[in-house]
Symmetry: C2
Subunit: 408 residues, 2 copies
Amino acid sequence: MVKIAIMGFGIVGSGVAEVVTNHKEDIGKKICGAIELKYILDIRDFPGNPFESKLTKDFNVILEDPEIDIVVETMGGTKPAYAFTKALLEKGKSVITSNKELVATHGAELLKIANENNANYLFEASVGGGIPIIRPLAQCLAANEILAISGILNGTTNYILTKMFRDGESFETALADAQAKGYAEKDPTADIEGHDTCRKVCILASLAYGEHLYPEKVYTEGITKITAQDVRNAEESGYVIKLLGRIRRVQEDKVFAMVSPCLVEKSSPIANVDDVFNGVLVTGDSVDDVMFYGRGAGKLPTASAVVADVIDAAKHMQSRKWISWKETDRDFVVDHLDAEERYYLRVAKTANAEAGIADIFGNVCYIHSDCADELAFITEKKVARNLEAECEKLCATGIEIKSKIRLL
Amino acid sequence: MVKIAIMGFGIVGSGVAEVVTNHKEDIGKKICGAIELKYILDIRDFPGNPFESKLTKDFNVILEDPEIDIVVETMGGTKPAYAFTKALLEKGKSVITSNKELVATHGAELLKIANENNANYLFEASVGGGIPIIRPLAQCLAANEILAISGILNGTTNYILTKMFRDGESFETALADAQAKGYAEKDPTADIEGHDTCRKVCILASLAYGEHLYPEKVYTEGITKITAQDVRNAEESGYVIKLLGRIRRVQEDKVFAMVSPCLVEKSSPIANVDDVFNGVLVTGDSVDDVMFYGRGAGKLPTASAVVADVIDAAKHMQSRKWISWKETDRDFVVDHLDAEERYYLRVAKTANAEAGIADIFGNVCYIHSDCADELAFITEKKVARNLEAECEKLCATGIEIKSKIRLL
C-alpha cells in the first residue's frame, strides 16, 4: 500500500485527487499494490468537498507520518513550497511537483537532497503540462547530444498570438479575449513578458546539459510589442510569429538560451502549434528533429503528468534516480549580444530608405508590407550587438524602426 | 562495466555500434560505469570495417559469455531472431530490439520470459524509429485511459502520399521516386500494403490495452488504390490523405484496430506530418491529445532509440520491469464490418446520380471534384457492413464506384 499526500488543493492539486481516485484500480495494477490518498494540505476550508475528510492545515502531520512515502506539491511559488519540499526529501519522502518556479530556482539543490536521501524528486508536469517531455528528454533521447530545443511553452501567449494571426486582432484585444476565456490571468505579466516560458527553458536546459541554468541568466522578451501589422507581414510572407523558448549548444561548453518572439517558417512543425497548445521541438545529433505536442496546461492534463510521476516513484521506491543536474558557478550561457541571428525589421519608408538600409545592413530581403509608408525586411545572420549598432545608425538617418523580431 | 553484443550488422545494427562508440563517455556518465561493445554477430564478413575485430558468426559465443548482460537484436524477421531472443532472455540477459515483426508476433511470450528471468525486453525503436513513443505511452501517460491512437507509422507510404499531394503524381510515379531515393525497397509490399504499419499498431495496442493484439486480427488496407484524383479532391476540400494505423476503445473490453488510408482534416496535427516523418496522436482521458513527431526510420534515429533502451537496461539491471502485456485467446478486436465511420466516395456521374445517391446513402456532403464525369461526396457515419450493402445497391443502379476511403 502506497500512501500519498497532496500539498495545495488548487486547480492542479484537485485534478490530482480526481485522477488518483478515478484511476485507483488501474494505478494499483501498475504499481503492483494499492494507492491511497491520505492527506490534502491547504490553508483554506472546502466545506462539502468530497475530499474534505482528507484536508489538513498542518504540514507536520504529513512530514511526521511514516506511512507517507510520496508527496505531491502543487502549491506553486517558492514560499513555503521550497522549505516543505526540502524537509520532505530530507526525510526520504519522494516529492512530485508541477511547480516550475521552484524547479527552475532550486532544482539542482533539491535533486541533490533527493539523491542523498534515496528519494525521488520528479517534475514531468512542470514543463508542457500533460505532454511527456522531461522523461523523454532524460531517458528516450539519452543516446543523443541535444543540439537544440525550440519550444512553444506557454499556452496563454500562444492563444493570444493565434488570435492575432487568425482574426487580425491587436495584442490588447487578443489579451482581453484570453482573459475573458480564463486563459490569461488578471495580472498576465508572467505569461506575456515571457517569465513563465523562461522558467521552463531553464528546466529543459538544465536537464539537457547537466548544469543548472538560472532564470536570471536568460535574456527574456515578451510579446507585448508585437503588432497586428507584424503578424500580417509575417503571414503574407510565409511565416507565423510565436513566443519561443530556445536553447542550443554553441560551443563545447557554452549554450545559447533565450526567450523571445520569433518569426517561424510555416513549414516548421512548430508553426502549426496553435491556440493554447504547446509544442517542443528537440534536435538531437542522432535522432534529428523530434516534436512533442499537446495541452501545456489545464487541470486534468497537468494532473495526469503528476500522477504518472507518482506511479513511477511508487514503482521505483528504492531504485537509483535517473534525473539530476549540478549547481554551477560558471557562466555557461553566451551573452545574448554575442548571438548570431537573422532579424525581421519594420521601418518607416522615407524617400531614400532602401539605399540607406543597403548601406547600413548590407544584403536584406524585403518581404510583404501592406502599409504604404512602411518597409519590412529580413536581414542576413548578424551578431546581436552589431545589429543594435546598425539599428542606431539607421535611426540617426531619420528612419524610425517600428519593430524588430528575431527569426527561428 | 557493462558489456554488450549486437546481433545483425545491417543499417540499424551498424548505427548502434557507431552511437555507442561515439557517445561512450556520455553513456558511461549516464549509467555510472563504463560500456563496452564486445561482440557483433553476423553471418557476413566485413573486411576492413572498423568493428571487424568484434565480429563473430557463432551465436553461442554471446549466449555463453557471462560477461554479456545486454544484447541488441537488430536482425529483423523472426528467424532466427525469435529463437535467439528466447535463449538470451532465459539466461537472464536483457534484449533490446528494433524488430517490430518479432515484437508484434511474439511480444507477450518474450516479455513473460524476460520477467520470469529478471531481464528486460525493450523495444522503443520498434515503433516510430527515433521518436520516443513506447516509454511515453507506458510511463508518462500511465495515469490515462488511452481512448484512441492514430498514427502515421510508415515513412515510405507517407513520402509517397506527400509526393502525390504536392506534385500531383500518380501512385506508380511516386513509388518509383521513393524507390530511386532509397525510401522504398525493391519489393515494397510490406510498406505499401500496410503490413509494416499493422505490426506497429499491434505493438501500440498491446501496450495501451495490456493484451497482445496479433497482426492477423487487424483489418489492413494499403495505399495502392489511391489515385491522383482522390488526392486532388481531398486537397481542394480541406483534407489530406494519410495511411493511418488506428486504435480506439469502443466498449469496456473491446477495441477497434485498423490500418487504412484516411482523409484527415488539414487542421488536425497529424495532417502536417509529411515526407518520411512519422507522427503518433494519442488521446488520453485526462491528457486529451498529445502528439509525437519525428523521423520514423533511418540509421542513426533508430539506433539512438536502441541505445536509449540499452542505457535504461544498464541502469536498471536488477529492477522490476515496467512493460508487459498478456497473451490472450479472447477476441477483443471488433469486426471491422461493425465499425462506424464516415466515408469518402468517388463515383461516375450519370443522369440521375444525385437522386440515386440520396435514395441509397441518405444525407451526403458533396465535395470538390474537378473531373466532369464524376461525383465525390462524404457520407454520414455508417456501420461498415451497411455501407457495403449501400455500395452494392448503387452499383446495381449502374453507377460505378471508383474510390472509397475512410475519414479519420
